[in-house]
């Protein structure tokens, strides 16, 4: 009897394994088909790769050695890039925080407000900062200022979403208890919710600071200042020895910032 049951179970296990194998095979086949279709559409093939990679290494060879004499001249744009990222992360906090409290379902004054603000936050986040920068450059002119505005607009969306998700994940018991004890809405937010969400908010703000540093290195491509502008200009004028200096500087600064941000995060949490 036990033997019969055991062989029955064995069959069930084998059957399940066959089914999951078949599913895995189908998924793999679909992915492979999509890959082939995409390779064909983007003209990505080995022949092109065989031609393209030597061309890239040739470009790399022409960049050597880096022209270190322009390091001093690059300091200004580099600092500008860092300043854009710093302000582009700080200014949106003041907008994202109130928006998040109005948009989170557990603190919103009215469900309609919540839905509308979520849509607004989503719209800010959806438009990439480079597109914001392009539009703003035409409006307020070239320079770092449209860059700050572009990062600000995109980050209001990004931070706003992180913030309201953090607020919604708080323990409802504390809010109930404070409301029952007669605390005003402001008191509930300030003394009940803020202490709970502050570490999460700081961590996601740091994440956005790292992201914005990376983004602000490319804002120069559309004329919004910083090291990206120096890089594009050097590339357009075929000054490859200066291009590689810019690239090395960008990599170094971003690695340092990632480390610093990780250090700050470990202090907070």
């Amino acid at each position: 009897m036990i033997e019969v049951v055991a062989t029955g179970m064995f069959d069930v296990v084998m059957e399940r394994r066959r089914v999951s194998r078949r599913q895995a095979f189908i998924v793999a086949a679909v992915i492979a088909a999509l890959g082939l279709w995409s390779a064909w559409g983007t003209e990505f093939n080995l022949a092109k790769l065989a031609l393209g990679l030597p061309a890239f290494f040739d470009l790399g060879a022409r960049m050597m050695p880096p022209d270190l004499s322009i390091l001093k001249a690059l300091m200004g744009p580099m600092i500008e890039t860092l300043e854009m990222a710093l302000l582009g992360t700080t200014i949106p906090i003041f907008f994202a925080l109130p928006l998040a409290f109005l948009a989170a379902v557990n603190t919103t004054p009215h469900p309609v407000v919540s839905v509308l603000l979520r849509f607004l936050i989503g719209a800010f986040r959806t438009v990439p900062e480079l597109i914001w920068a392009m539009v703003l450059v035409t409006a307020v002119g070239l320079g770092p200022f449209p860059g700050v505005l572009a990062l600000t607009l995109h980050s209001i969306g990004g931070l706003g979403k992180f913030y309201y998700e953090a607020i919604e994940a708080t323990d409802p018991g504390i809010i109930d208890a404070m409301t029952a004890a007669g605390a005003s809405r402001f008191q509930v937010i300030w003394f009940g919710i803020m202490p709970m969400v502050l570490p999460v908010m700081m961590s996601s703000t740091l994440f956005y600071w790292e992201y914005n540093n990376r983004a602000s290195t490319v804002l120069g491509l559309v004329g919004a200042g910083g090291i990206g502008l120096a890089l594009t200009q050097a590339l357009q004028d075929f000054r490859y020895h200066e291009v590689i200096t810019c690239l090395i500087l960008i990599v170094l600064i971003l690695v340092v910032i990632d480390r610093f941000s990780a250090f700050l995060r470990s202090r907070i949490i």
Partner: protein
Amino acid sequence: MITNAKTKSPVDIEAVLQASSRKLTPLQMLILAVVAVVYWSAIQGTEISLKDIVTGMPAIAELVGQMFPPDWKYLSELGSRVIETLQIGIIATIIASLLSLPLAFLAAKNVSPHPLVYLPVRLFLTICRGVSELIWALLFVVAVGLGPFAGVIALIIYCVGVIGKLLAEAVEAVDPGPLEAMEAAGASRWKVFLYGAWPQVLPLYFSYCLYYWDHNTRQAVVLGFVGAGGVGYALFFNLSTYYFEKAMMAMIVLILMIVIIDRFCLFLRQRII
């Protein structure tokens, strides 16, 4: 009256409160001063002015006015651009996820064959993700010419850097028990990775690949700005040649694409994980 639980002596609440809200230490004051100076110089350096926003408003209004109504006829031309953007995202993610596997194995401390392998691979991954995709694309457009190919390569390089690093960290964080047991039983480094560490990181690997597919498709949209094909190229081209109605149409399509991809990835992630 409040008393100390241990000594039963009365507690001076005023003193306790004062101690908890004590004055800033010199170091904290120094940090605050440095932060204030940094912000002040940043505001000066980036030429922030509310006046510029106010005077720029008519320009923004005019620009937006020229964008309406969007050129709906242009929609049919954008179809192939949309498909191209999707294809760039798919092929880049597939190739990057395959390439990042062996690199992650070499870059994880606990399964890497040798420290002399581990360090260069780590450095390589850091350089790959050190600059953003757009800069890689810029360089590849110069090297191999305009078109989607440059965009695909740029996305692959950046993505290998990120997935490789995340996966290596996941491998380093696995439960060491099975690995030690297999090593004690005489399994090779490669087998230890394949049968000991790999099953533990598989779900994470899928989740990273999915996340970076989403990310790559979004980035593929923007890569067009530097001439690497797709919808972004249509947008950039029309903005710089003052076809604002067409640019608006491209922007609408682009935002819709990003929203749909976002939703689809959320759906897939809920199904898989």
